[in-house]
């Protein structure tokens, strides 16, 4: 009884969630990725061309 009460209450809450279309959120996601592409070291390379993990280990030791 308690469980079903909780479940129904939960569903009532979820029924009132405001929703956006997939196309809208996709657009936002694409814009976000494009806007931040320059700062993404694994896509555009590190900003100052220096990624401490991409140096050779021998260099790090020198």
């Amino acid at each position: 009884m308690e469980t079903i009460k909780q479940q129904t209450e939960q569903l009532r809450v979820e029924a009132h969630v405001q929703r956006k279309k997939v196309s809208e959120v996709s657009k936002d996601l694409i814009e976000y990725c494009e806007k931040n592409k320059g700062g993404d070291a694994l896509i555009s390379g590190p900003p100052d061309n220096h990624n401490p993990f991409q140096e050779k280990k021998s260099c790090a030791m020198l």
Partner: protein, 377 residues
């Protein structure tokens, strides 16, 4: 309104009395059955309505919207560091906010703090338990939290005089009624968020060890938790054996959204850097992208040739790349927008148990059952 007449015969009132006495039990039972039925019907109707509402919003798939984008360039990502030192399966790792140090925990109960640049071990701690399933760096990098089969989450301050009595330096903060599967600090060194096999999550005060808020709602073991990076809201997400990801309001302790789609246990969840979407990885061999604003799944990352569970997922700094660590020892590099696998990274010799991007996105780190940790960049 009862039609009580002042002139009721004694016999009929006795009969009434009789029925009054016998009715309650059966009446309550039938009323309860009725309301259960009503609730069940309402729940079913709500479910149908919710599904319909969510489906209505599924207008254009993200792959189609991303069609005009140029493909991901060659990334040149490869294994750059190999951290060796654990004697058992490595189960979890976490980055320090200094983007350099890494903490890892293993099946034999060891917790190691590494310098990711030099691969040196800076601390090696022995915990009170085996299967130290979770470990986390505090925001200030001065504390480590860890735990697992001991049902606890303990913290230990990092200082340079390890050795003697190190076990005593561990202080239990959180206690669950089953194993502690995941933990992370919440914005400060003083708040700890944990998830457990007891199907709850909880927030604890590190200083006093007091429970601040607990979160009931999962119907199975919790395996993963995450909070948005750009932390303005008051939510976190959790997922696990019940195949659902739940969104929680930290202040009220209530579940505010629920996401389904996976066909098996969810092992890992991670917010997209935009804070509105999140990725999941599951035993069903797929990763999925969900969005809070769409209230539904937005994308699925799967291939017929991939049959193994996903145990760790994370994004590159812009969110364009989704990295996934698999049970087949490989790291999948997915274009998160076009939903295609860009490349595969090889190196580990056993299943990958955990995968995390560094705080500034210069590298990713993977922990594996082959007893090693690798840094890729």
């Amino acid at each position: 309104m009862a039609d009580e007449k002042p002139t009721t015969s004694s016999s009929s009132s006795a009969a009434k009395e009789q029925t009054k006495k016998t009715e309650p039990a059966s009446e309550i039972a039938s009323r309860a059955a009725e309301s259960i039925e009503l609730l069940a019907r309402e729940a079913e109707e709500l479910r149908v309505k919710l599904d319909a509402e969510r489906n209505k919003l599924n207008d254009i798939p993200i792959e189609q919207a991303a069609d005009r984008l140029s493909p991901l360039p060659h990334t040149g990502i490869k294994s750059r560091r190999l951290l060796k030192g654990h004697a058992g399966k490595v189960l979890c790792m976490d980055w320090s906010m200094d983007k350099r140090h890494i903490v890892s925990s293993s099946q034999d109960g060891k917790v190691i703090v590494w310098d990711g640049f030099t691969t040196n071990k800076e601390h090696a701690l022995t915990t009170a338990t085996t299967w130290t399933m979770a470990c986390a760096y505090s925001p200030s990098s001065q504390l480590i939290a860890c735990g697992g089969l001991d049902n606890k989450c303990s913290v230990v301050p990092l200082s340079f005089d390890d050795d003697i009595q190190q076990k005593k330096r561990f202080r239990a903060v959180a206690t669950h009624t089953s194993y502690m599967s995941c933990c992370m600090f919440l914005r400060s060194d003083n708040l700890l968020l944990t998830g457990s096999g007891d199907s709850t999550c909880a927030i604890w005060d590190v200083e006093s060890g007091q429970l601040i808020q607990n979160f009931h709602g999962h119907t199975g073991d919790v395996f993963a938790i995450d909070v948005p990076r750009c932390d303005t809201g008051n939510i976190f997400i959790s997922a696990g054996a019940d195949k659902h990801t739940l969104v929680w309001d930290i202040r009220t302790g209530l579940c505010v959204q629920s996401f389904d789609g996976h066909e098996a246990d969810i092992n890992t969840v991670r917010f997209h850097p935009n804070g509105d979407a999140f990725a999941t990885g599951s035993d069903d061999a797929s990763c999925r992208l969900f969005d809070l604003r769409a209230d539904r799944q937005v994308c699925i990352y799967e291939k017929d040739s991939i049959l193994f569970p996903v145990n760790g997922v994370d994004f590159s700094a812009s969110g364009r790349i989704l990295f996934a660590g698999y049970g087949d020892y490989r790291v999948g590099v997915w274009d998160s927008l076009k939903a295609t696998r860009h490349t595969t990274l090889y190196g580990h010799e056993n299943r990958i148990s955990c995968l995390k991007s560094s705080p500034d996105g210069t590298a990713i780190c993977t922990a594996s059952w082959d007893c090693t940790i690798r840094i890729w960049a």
